[in-house]
């Protein structure tokens, strides 16, 4: 075999790329995983994972230099001293905002699987049937039954802790034991159950293992996941899929490999490989394979397609549908309510739970009908205030200090995560006038939320207030802190799945209609956004697609 020829190429090493590599190599395919950034080695390179607060010169905060260097990252909690090196260098990799768009990226082995929020939920048929029933966009080409066994497959390996709640809109999975609610959350959950037929507050389902699993240590409740976990207690490429893929002996990993295009063969109508620009040397290489998995994250996967096969389709591979780069979706959030829980002064917690509660969607389900379509879920938690609280009646001195060394009142907050609809003209394009560090064209974002989302945000605030008040909380206040598309860090939809090559980029097995040996299985594939955190769905779609690809290779169909 030529040294640049493999059975399979995986572009990207994040959540879905790691899964593609694991499944392909375990099925015996010699696979190369191409990652545009540097390597981050499990545990060894988690630089601040064991740092105490006082070991960080700015105690985890942000300096003026950081604010200047990371103008996008600084728009949210993401800019901080503790894991700054996991976020993309914005000067090297700029993009164009035709409208405000927050793009938080991780360019390294593991991608955002290192920093992700770990909330892991299945979609249901309410989601897969939604576009068809509402008559918008296109119908998902699959239903829950198609994906259910693959959800199980990925849950069992990744290790998802959660409770089996028996809710049709949030199907149960193959879970590890759930984490626990705290005393306030339990009481609020019980009161919500009493007050509402279809509203439930459940413990978050999270990719943190609660039992030892595949040489990984169960969660130690440090709540420092996004620094990288020395125990391997949460799912990441490094902790889970990469070691499994490496163990097969079939994996080659190549960092600093920017895939600039998929090499398309006009005669066979197949991809024959990819072109790689070495990010360190600026040398160009070609790699060849029978099948290509594109897992560069939703927007960058679209970018790769836009740069590919332009001699056949000027707008790129997959553009014959007119949908490549369109239908950009995210989850809109930063609206909800919070309040004070009284009567729990004699209660406290032990340990730092890297998880919260979840209220699955209830709007526009079970006979409910609003002046918008779809719905939202809530994430949140209850806890006691710490030393940073205001004590209005006190000024300075010993009593003030001693008061701050005790915990403050219990508070609880809920933040809605709302579904955004797939609007055709929410779109990304190549801006060839602006180049990145390597002279490559950058993406331009033209995305905004519309009336449907704005109306939903009003419910996201008011419903949270009502539920918390009915649950007995005091001083309940709503908030809407505004939202830029992308801020949910759930980019989706830029190469959607569908039933018709005229209106979708991918078919029911995530194959590019115009090049069936190219599979796209990250957020780009999503036909609608639902309101659940999407990563678990990418994992399941990836495992399912690999199974399909290997079967098709055997049948010599691709």
């Amino acid at each position: 075999m030529d040294k640049n020829t493999y059975d399979a190429i995986v572009i990207g090493s994040g959540i879905s790329g790691g899964w593609a590599a694991k499944e392909l190599t375990e099925k015996g395919l010699k696979t190369i995983m191409l990652e545009r950034g540097r390597n981050i080695e499990h545990v060894k390179d988690y630089v601040n994972a064991n740092a105490a607060p006082w070991e960080l010169p700015h105690r985890g905060g942000r300096t003026q230099q950081m604010i200047a260097d990371y103008p996008v990252l600084g728009r949210d909690y993401t800019l901080n001293e503790t894991n700054l090196s996991y976020w993309v260098n914005e000067k090297e990799s700029p993009y164009v905002e035709k409208k405000p768009y927050d793009w938080f990226r991780g360019y390294h082995i593991g991608g955002r699987s290192l920093m992700w929020g770990r909330q892991s939920y299945r979609l249901s048929d309410y989601d897969f049937e939604a576009n068809l029933k509402d008559g918008i966009a296109v119908d998902w080409p699959i239903r829950y039954a198609d994906l259910a066994p693959w959800y199980s497959h990925v849950e069992k390996f990744a290790g998802i802790s959660g409770n089996r709640d028996g809710l049709p809109q949030l199907p149960d999975g193959d879970f590890m034991p759930p984490m626990n609610m705290n005393v306030v959350e339990k009481d609020v959950a019980a009161r919500i159950k009493k007050n509402y037929e279809h509203r439930h507050m459940v413990i978050g389902r999270t990719a943190n293992i609660t039992l030892p699993h595949h040489n990984r240590v169960n969660c130690q409740y440090r709540n420092k996941c996004w620094l990288g976990c020395p125990f391997g207690a949460y799912f990441s490429t490094q902790s889970a899929t990469l070691p499994a893929a490496v163990a097969t002996g079939n994996l080659t990993v190549r960092p600093f490999s920017i895939v600039t295009k998929i090499l398309y063969d006009k005669d066979t109508k197949r991809a024959k490989g990819v072109e790689v620009l070495d990010a360190e040397t600026n040398q160009t290489y070609e790699y060849y394979a029978k099948v290509v998995f594109l897992n560069a994250s939703a927007l960058n996967s679209a970018w790769v397609l836009m740069n590919s096969a332009t001699d056949v389709w000027p707008e790129g591979l997959g553009s014959s549908s007119g949908e490549l780069g369109h239908n950009v979706m995210d989850h809109h959030f930063r609206a909800g309510a919070h309040g004070d829980a009284e009567g729990y002064d004699d209660k406290y917690v032990y340990g730092r739970r890297a998880n919260g509660i979840y209220v699955p969607r209830y709007r526009n389900l079970f006979g409910d009908k609003r002046d918008y379509i779809r719905g939202f879920g809530y994430q949140g938690s209850a806890g006691r205030e710490g030393w940073s609280r205001e004590i209005p009646e006190m000024s300075i001195g010993g009593e003030f200090k001693d008061a701050l060394t005790e915990p403050g009142k219990w508070t609880m907050g809920l933040t809605g995560f709302g579904e955004t609809l797939p609007y055709h003209d929410n779109q990304i394009t190549l801006d060839k006038t602006k180049k990145d560090k390597w002279g490559l064209p950058v993406l331009a974002m033209d995305v905004h939320i519309r009336d449907n989302e704005q109306k939903m945000r009003i419910d996201m605030m008011n419903d949270a207030q009502e539920m918390l008040e009915k649950a007995g909380l005091k001083n309940v206040k709503t908030y809407n802190n505004g939202y830029n598309p992308g801020g949910g860090i759930h980019e989706m939809g830029t190469a959607r799945m569908g039933r018709d090559p005229k209106t979708s980029v991918l078919n029911a097995h995530n194959q590019v209609w115009d090049a069936p040996n190219v599979y796209v299985t990250d957020g780009a594939a999503m036909t609608s956004a639902a309101c659940q955190n999407p990563s678990l769905t990418y994992m399941a779609l990836t495992a399912r697609a690999v199974d399909h690809a290997v079967s098709e290779l055997k049948k010599q169909n691709i």
Partner: protein
Amino acid sequence: MNRRDALARVAVLMGGTVIGAEFFLTGCSSPAGTSEKAGETAATKFALSPAQMSLLDEVGETILPTTKTPGAKAAKVGAFMNVMVRDCYKPADQQVFLTGLTKLDEASQKQVGKAFMAADPAQRMAVLTKLDTEQKEFTKNQRKDDPGHYFRMMKELTLLGYFTSEVGATQALRYIPVPGRYDGNVPYKKGDRAWATS
């Protein structure tokens, strides 16, 4: 910090955000395409003298004095403020902070007839209590983007520097690097120390 904590229970200091530092999530995004120019030159120029850091140690010790646990001086909050103001404050806020050192001494002269360092603990307490009232009033009427009050800066940095220091986190508060488990319902009695991190 994870996303739910960041969003649902926004970390705030004294009911607001840390002046100038954008230290914690502020809950508002900057408009697209705008980027603060770093105080690169200011950052390299800003440096407190040992005398100024000693003064700030004493200011900190008055705000958070030694009680049954060590005070802010033991956490070296003066040196901490030097780092934070140098690296995290905008030039305009650095100026307010620097001028504040002089204003603080002037206030001390006016109120107790001597410089802050020469005043006794009771006098220092009286001076800073008055300044704290002043900063609270100032902050209440402050418009967004106006520079903050120097004493609020000093108080915030004292709290931040102390409670995240080894002394503060492990003696005034409780810090367990690896809790190993989670219990969401443990008894609490008045006087038990809070956890240093959440």
